[in-house]
């Protein structure tokens, strides 16, 4: 589905990705984990074309996509939920979904009602401005918006960060639902327990490079790796708000 080979990226003169290689198989949830500032968000932005890779290749559904503009990535079936959600605040919930369904110009685009079925809590909010929603509702909307174009692969950047346990559970169920309905997922997640409970494949990123790749049991068999690279995740789990 998606293959990154030795992808490098810079912000100006700052070298952030030093050769990231990873794969997401069709119908799988691949988790990208690692401490703060190691380049997880940058990896997703580079796949989406928001950041241009300076070296390496990105192959999506058999075609090279590195260097394309983001709107072309969306048209090919990639969707991205950024870490700060970035819903269109002045648009209604329904408009947020409708604009995404149309803009990507994909044949299987979903209707708003279908998308909202992933998150029934949003249904009564359909006519409200997205900017007036709570953080948890905005997160659900950001995911729903990404689903609107019926993408083949959806990238989620810390979708549960800062949310209450009930909302986290809703989002976890939504993630499983997305896989169930056939899309692949690349998940960046600091909530280690949640990542373990949904992930099929795990990649640990450290200073812009993948230092571990393996299944759940392979990851759990390496406690010193978990301690060294995911120590922050534990502290972060307790930081929860509404």
């Amino acid at each position: 589905m998606l293959t990154l080979t030795d992808v490098q990226a810079h912000y100006g003169s700052a070298h952030v990705l030093h050769g990231v290689s990873l794969e997401v198989q069709a119908g799988q949830i691949a988790c990208l984990i690692g401490r703060n500032g190691v380049g997880k968000s940058t990896t997703l932005k580079t796949i989406m074309g928001v950041v241009s890779p300076s070296a390496g290749s990105i192959i999506f559904r058999g075609q090279r996509i590195d260097g394309l503009a983001p709107h072309l990535m969306a048209a090919r079936g990639l969707a991205w939920v950024p870490e700060d959600r970035r819903v269109f605040a002045s648009l209604t919930v329904e408009e947020n979904i409708r604009v995404a369904a149309k803009a990507a110009r994909r044949s299987g685009a979903r209707r708003a009602a279908d998308v909202l079925s992933f998150f029934p809590a949003l249904v009564p909010k359909a006519k409200e401005r997205a900017g007036s929603l709570s953080g948890g509702q905005q997160q659900m909307l950001a995911i729903a918006r990404a689903l609107a174009s019926q993408p083949d692969l959806i990238m989620l950047d810390e979708p549960t960060e800062g949310l209450s346990p009930i909302i986290v559970e809703t989002i976890r169920a939504g993630i499983l639902d997305i896989r169930q309905r056939g899309a692949s997922i690349l998940l960046v997640e600091q909530n280690f327990k949640l990542a373990l409970s949904v992930g099929d494949m795990f990649y640990v990123l450290s200073r812009g490079a993948v230092v571990f790749r393996g299944t759940r049991s392979e990851l759990l068999a390496a406690p010193e790796l978990i301690h060294e690279h995911l120590g922050v995740a534990k502290a972060r789990q307790s930081r929860v708000s509404a």
Binding site: S90, R98, K102
Partner: protein, 290 residues
């Protein structure tokens, strides 16, 4: 205070406000979409006036020229956007501001070179040459007709932004251009198209106003400044706010200017400055000031 004088100035203010609305809408749209501060907007307004003359010289009537003239300006504006603004999109706003400032001088220079620095009068089109009586005072019919047309076109633009699929994309890009691009909106081409349409609106205003304000190469400077004031007051990129801002600027200018003509711009700047001290993001701002 002479009540008739006040009435005439108020009417003139409303008429001017309707023109200002047309020019401000385009300015606001382009800023909202691409954070492009388009200083050439006034020159495009002037080009509309001259395009009107060019078409009328082909023995077309005023109304046909009013439609065709602005349409001639659109492809020119699109070419300007692709050649001069598009390559600077990832730079800070000051780059496009300076480039459009330069383009303004090029356009004005070209107009002076071809048509000279003089003023060209355009006759008021025949059925509306007379006056109507408003509260016992005669007032030129064409001004009211032109204001009505301006409002109609502006309302159409509003409806398009609010209800069409492209309008929805424009609003999404105005909220968050990077995110809109990531869901599939071709933001660069959308800006090019909107820039062309905004130029068409400005040119239409220039052509529509020609029988009232006359045509000269520098005719766009005043309305450019007033449009910027309207857009800033309304909250950059905020269309309904821009509409109120346009009316506010026009009324302040024509009513204030009616009594102390040479001070009218100064009065306006003071009023806008005071308004912005209390509402730094404009009267209806959404925090768009970078």
């Amino acid at each position: 205070m002479d009540i008739n004088f006040l009435l005439a100035n108020t009417l003139n203010g409303v008429v001017y406000g309707a023109f200002l609305l047309l020019t401000s809408l385009g300015l606001s749209l382009v800023f909202g979409l691409g954070r492009v501060v388009n200083f050439a907007h006034g020159a495009l307004y002037a080009l509309g006036g001259y395009a009107l003359i060019v078409v009328m010289q082909q023995s077309a009537g005023y109304w046909l020229a009013l439609v065709l003239g602005p349409l001639l300006v659109v492809p020119l504006a699109i070419a300007i956007e692709r050649a001069a603004i598009h390559p600077l999109r990832s730079r800070p706003e000051i780059y496009t501001l300076l480039v459009t400032f330069g383009i303004t001088f090029m356009i004005i220079g070209a107009l002076e070179y071809i048509w000279g620095t003089g003023t060209t009068l355009v006759e008021v089109p025949s059925p509306f040459a007379g006056t109507v009586t408003i509260l016992g005072n005669p007032y030129p019919v064409y001004r009211l007709v032109a204001a009505g047309l301006s409002l109609l076109v502006s309302a159409t633009v509003f409806a398009f932004i609010q209800f069409s699929a492209i309008g929805l994309q424009i609003r999404a890009v105005t909220d968050d251009a990077g995110m809109a691009e990531a869901i599939g909106v071709n933001t660069k081409w959308l800006l090019t198209a909107v820039f062309g349409a905004a130029a068409g609106l400005a040119a239409f205003a220039g052509a529509l106003g020609a029988p009232i304000f006359a045509i000269h190469p520098d005719m766009g400077s005043g309305i450019l400044i007033d449009s910027f004031l309207a857009v800033i007051l309304g909250g950059l990129g905020n269309l309904p706010g821009t509409a109120v801002g346009a009316l506010f600027v026009a009324l302040t200018k024509s009513i204030g200017g009616g009594y102390v003509a040479e001070w009218s711009l100064a009065i306006l700047f003071v009023v806008v400055a005071i308004a912005l001290i209390f509402r730094p993001t404009g009267l209806f701002g959404r925090g768009r000031v970078a």
